[in-house]
């Protein structure tokens, strides 16, 4: 099969869209739904409540995060407070997270995350103490309680380490054919470059 044939196959896969070319402004602007799932891991304290204020394409929504399993994305009593917001898909997600304690309400995180118009966006935060002892929020890559979020971020690294050891062992112990026998069969075909 030639290079041209392969490229033609690629184009054929996308031909239905390609024939129509890119649609005009109006056709492209329909809003699609977006579900934003928020997870807030609270370290070193037991809050009375955690609230989030989120903006999707101008629409402001407030949600009380829970840690009792009320929200479908929540694991009960794992010290990770979760909540789900549904609205129109947004490029930018301005988010404010407030942590309520008996002594008052503190804003732990106030910033903008990128939504990328994905149908489902999962955002995780960790609320901990800053160097001065004050409450501070940070984005985390994974949803996990306390310092476990750091470990969860490292899980793929652990998986890759196991994969690396496996491949090293397999490659090192693999039985090899004698070069002479292999050479006769493995000579590259003559011909011009592709």
């Amino acid at each position: 099969v030639s290079v041209g044939g392969a490229l033609a196959a690629l184009l054929a896969v996308s031909s239905s869209s390609a024939r129509a070319a890119e649609p005009g402004l109006v056709e492209r602007t329909a809003s699609s739904p977006q579900e934003v799932v928020l997870h807030v891991s609270v370290v070193d304290r037991v809050p009375v409540g955690v609230r989030a204020r989120l903006q999707q394409a101008g629409a402001v929504r407030e949600v009380a995060l829970t840690d009792d399993g009320t929200d479908s994305a929540d694991v009960p009593f794992d010290r990770v407070w979760s909540g789900t917001v549904r609205g129109d898909a947004a490029q930018y997600l301005p988010i404010r997270i407030d942590v309520e304690e008996p002594t008052g309400v503190t804003t732990a995180w106030d910033g903008i995350a990128r939504g990328g118009l994905e149908p489902r966006v999962e955002l995780s935060f960790e609320v901990t103490r800053g160097p001065d002892g004050a409450m501070v929020g940070r984005r985390r890559a994974t949803r996990a309680p306390g310092a476990m979020s750091h470990a969860a971020e490292a899980l793929p690294l652990l998986g890759v380490a196991v994969w690396a050891v496996l491949l090293l062992v397999v490659a090192a112990l693999a039985g090899l054919r004698r070069p002479e026998a292999a050479d006769a069969r493995d000579m590259p075909p003559a011909g011009p470059p592709p």
Partner: protein, 512 residues
């Protein structure tokens, strides 16, 4: 054979093939200016400056990274829409790269088809390709020039090496730098067979092409602002969700299979049957590239710090790293050299096809291609169709210092929108230093006037823009109130407000 590559490509970047016209799989924002470049390509002719962006200065062509990409866009002349061509590079680029690496490996090392495919999979679809796709630097995915350059130098073909080196430079400057390194490495290995005269001919050809490019580059190519992005011992091999946290995915350089098979091939070089000079040479070429990919400072922890100085640190302060800000892209050389070396081991294995499955799993699963390359729609808000036919000032706050990612995202998204509304914008669309953008300067000046309670109407007329589009989501509530209030006072009611296409936008007409 080619159908196999195509099938792998469809799986690798799925679901892109299902909607290649109106979606992207890039997490980062560089796919937007790539698509913009396709549509704006002809506006660079004949002056070399596009009037579409950076209005009123215009966007100089020297800021381009890929002359091959823009050349193709010019030839196609708008027949293929920008986002489709961008996505075709994601779909077809790795196919070409993998096919070339497979062919070159077989020709250079005399190995069979499965071993060639092994090298092709790890090079064409490996971590470096994944990073390019996630970052949206799609022209980097078309990298057949490097293995073909290696083959031409291996054979001592001076003209072919020079032409392929030129194509690599035209693809992206980083491929050119990698090609130069590969040619140097291959010539060191092959010098005894080729002889001094042939080596000299190849070097002269490469030097001639490099000199022409350097002279052109010196006329005003873009120098990036920001930290030097090098590989780390962790990101050399593995991916972590932490890398995608900010949707900026500069990550693994080599991957596990490439590294493991290369190391074992070197250790078992006698059994593998490669000449010692070839085995050691290919490994050394990859090792040098890995060292270079660390950049001037080797970061040992996850959090960037001062790092341990590498030999490249001697070049700090010389300006080299303003032009070469992403040394991790030396990973292309390491990927090629080590996947070729690994292929030599695979060629001798009793079950070479099993190694091919391992390579497939490595690029699809271990590197995270499946799951990380997700489809994102790329709509355009309807509001842009309602603006007067005149230059547009996009208004949003400046985030942190000018290197903050959100500044670049908003900038590049505005360039994507312009592909449809076609009115001149003040953003730079081929920009790696946002502080040089006329939009940045105008936006900061307008905000300063608003907060100083100074009038802005005549100032905006002096700017000769026809409309102001406020990206309201990006403002903190108090600042937004102040900016919107000032614009209503000075320019009257907005001509449009939109909440579709993923943004809350408000637009004002600037009276002439």
């Amino acid at each position: 054979m080619w159908l196999g590559w195509v099938a792998l490509s469809l799986a690798w970047s799925w679901p892109l093939a299902a909607d290649p016209v109106a979606s992207t799989v890039s997490l980062h924002f560089d796919a937007f200016p790539a698509a913009w470049l396709v549509d704006a390509a002809r506006s660079f002719v004949p002056s070399g400056v596009s009037s579409w962006s950076a209005w009123p200065d215009g966007e100089p062509m020297q800021r381009l990274d890929s002359y091959l990409f823009v050349g193709l866009a010019m030839v196609l002349g708008g027949a293929v829409p920008g986002m489709l061509l961008t996505n075709l590079f994601v779909l077809a680029g790795p196919v070409a790269s993998a096919g070339a690496a497979s062919w070159a490996t077989r020709r250079m090392l005399g190995v069979g088809a499965p071993a060639g495919f092994f090298a092709g999979v790890l090079y064409g679809f490996g971590p470096m390709a994944l990073v390019a796709a996630l970052e949206g630097q799609v022209y980097a995915l078309l990298a057949p020039w490097l293995p073909l350059c290696a083959w031409a130098a291996w054979e001592g073909r001076a003209v072919a090496t020079a032409v392929l080196f030129a194509l690599a430079l035209g693809g992206t400057a980083y491929h050119g730098v990698n090609a130069a390194l590969i040619v140097a490495g291959v010539l060191l290995v092959r010098a005894p067979e080729l002889g001094r005269a042939a080596v000299l001919r190849v070097l002269v050809g490469v030097a001639a092409v490099g000199s022409v490019y350097a002279a052109f580059y010196a006329t005003g190519a873009s120098r990036g602002a920001g930290p030097v992005e090098g590989a780390t011992p962790v990101t050399l091999l593995a991916w972590s969700p932490w890398l995608d946290l900010a949707r900026h995915s500069l990550g693994p350089v080599l991957g596990v299979a490439t590294s493991a098979f290369a190391v074992v091939a070197l250790l078992r070089w006698r059994e593998v049957g490669l000449p010692r000079r070839t085995a050691v040479g290919l490994f050394a070429l990859g090792a040098v590239a890995v060292l270079l990919s660390f950049g001037p400072r080797l970061q040992l922890g996850v959090v960037p710090g001062r790092g341990v100085p590498t030999p490249l640190s001697l070049l700090e302060g010389t300006g080299v790293f303003r032009a070469l800000r992403f040394p991790l892209r030396f990973g292309w050389t390491a990927a090629l050299a080590w996947s070729m070396l690994g292929a030599a081991l695979v060629a001798r294995m009793r079950r070479p096809w099993a190694a091919l499955i391992v390579a497939g799993l490595d690029v699809l699963v271990a590197g995270g291609a499946v799951g990380r390359l997700r489809g994102h729609p790329v709509p355009v808000p309807r509001l842009y169709g309602l603006l007067p036919e005149a230059p547009v000032l996009e208004l949003y706050p400046e985030f942190g210092d000018s290197r903050e990612d959100l500044n670049y995202y908003a900038q590049n998204l505005a360039c994507h929108y312009q592909r449809f509304h076609r009115r001149p914008i003040l953003e730079r669309c081929l920009n790696t230093d946002v502080a040089t953008s006329p939009r940045w300067v105008a936006g900061a000046a307008l905000h300063a006037r608003v907060f100083a309670r100074e009038p802005v109407r005549d100032w905006l007329r002096g700017l000769r823009v026809g409309s102001v589009v406020v990206h309201a989501d990006l403002y903190a509530p108090a600042m937004r109130e102040e900016v919107l209030g000032a614009l209503v006072r000075e320019l009257g009611d907005p001509i449009a407000e939109g909440h579709d296409g993923g943004e809350w936008l408000m637009a004002w007409r600037v009276p002439t």
